[in-house]
């Protein structure tokens, strides 16, 4: 039984580690913190494995907990010291750019950087919409927020991101 659990758990880690890590990374902008959050999320999954009913449930659970832990980590860090944010953002941007080279990848990393400057709630909604391809209803369930609020965050976030892109990325946007 324990062996089966372990296999299941390992399989869940294999399948979902990129999702959990990406969500944490784009919410916090910090590779180290994102990795720490991803580890914590999977260990929490391990403790709650008996409550997980299906593969879909596991995916939903992981998204929800990853977003929640990322938000908690952001708030703890903001409370600790604000200046750390600048270092982290710079580090994140540098690493993202180093991993991509051509024009298109440049645009992608710049869009990621701009996304990181959006308010936390808008960033979370856009991340789940465009990284995870979730519908507004699914986003509302994942964030535990009212649907109207999520729709508003999506609209405002996208509008703000367009405006920022028009200002900062005019060399890429036609």
């Amino acid at each position: 039984m324990v062996h089966d659990d372990q296999l299941d758990f390992e399989q869940l880690v294999d399948e979902h580690q990129a999702m959990v890590y990406s969500l944490a990374l784009r919410m916090t902008g910090d590779h180290g913190l994102a990795e720490e959050i991803a580890q914590d999320v999977f260990l929490e999954l391990d403790r709650n494995l008996s409550k997980i009913e299906s593969a879909d449930h596991a995916c939903f659970w992981l998204r929800r907990v990853a977003m929640s832990r990322s938000t908690d980590a952001l708030r703890r860090r903001q409370a600790r010291r604000m200046e750390q944010w600048v270092e982290i953002e710079e580090g994140h941007g540098a690493k993202a750019e180093s991993s991509s080279s051509p024009l298109a990848s440049g645009l992608s990393s710049r869009l990621e950087q701009l996304l990181a400057t959006l308010p936390e709630a808008q960033r979370a909604a856009l991340l789940l919409r465009y990284q995870e391809d979730l519908t507004p209803e699914e986003i509302a369930a994942a964030l535990g927020a009212p649907l109207a609020t999520v729709k508003s965050h999506l609209q405002r976030g996208l509008k703000l991101l367009r405006a920022k892109a028009a200002t900062h990325l005019h060399e890429y946007i036609r």
Binding site: S22, Q39, L115, L126, Y130, Q131, L161
Partner: protein, 112 residues
């Protein structure tokens, strides 16, 4: 979905997790005390069920007995107090009767 949203979706593709993330998770998992995982569908043995019921019945019986004893004790004390009051009233009645007869005798003597 317009061009900008398509660009955004492309930009936000999932990033690969660090190569050692899984091994770190498994290492931390191994360090934690082994959880006793019980399948959700496994029913509890019947013996626990009966033990629970027996314990509940015993507790209920003790509580009911306690309440009954308390009620009887209160009733006994109430009756005792009532008897004491009646005795006191009886003594007072006798004293008053005695005093009344003495006063009557005194009045008769004064008239004569």
């Amino acid at each position: 979905m317009d061009e900008f949203e398509r660009e955004l979706r492309q930009a936000l593709g999932r990033q690969p997790a660090p190569q050692d993330l899984k091994s770190k998770i498994m290492a931390r998992r191994a360090q934690q005390p082994q959880l006793v995982r019980q399948p959700r569908s496994t029913p509890r043995p019947h013996v626990f069920h009966w033990q629970r019921m027996a314990a509940s019945i015993t507790v209920a019986a003790v509580l009911a007995g306690g309440l009954l004893w308390r009620e009887q004790e209160q009733r006994r004390r109430g009756e005792e107090a009532r008897d004491q009051v009646l005795t006191a009233l009886r003594i007072t009645g006798h004293a008053l009767d005695h005093m009344h007869s003495q006063l009557t005798a005194h009045d008769h003597a004064a008239e004569e």
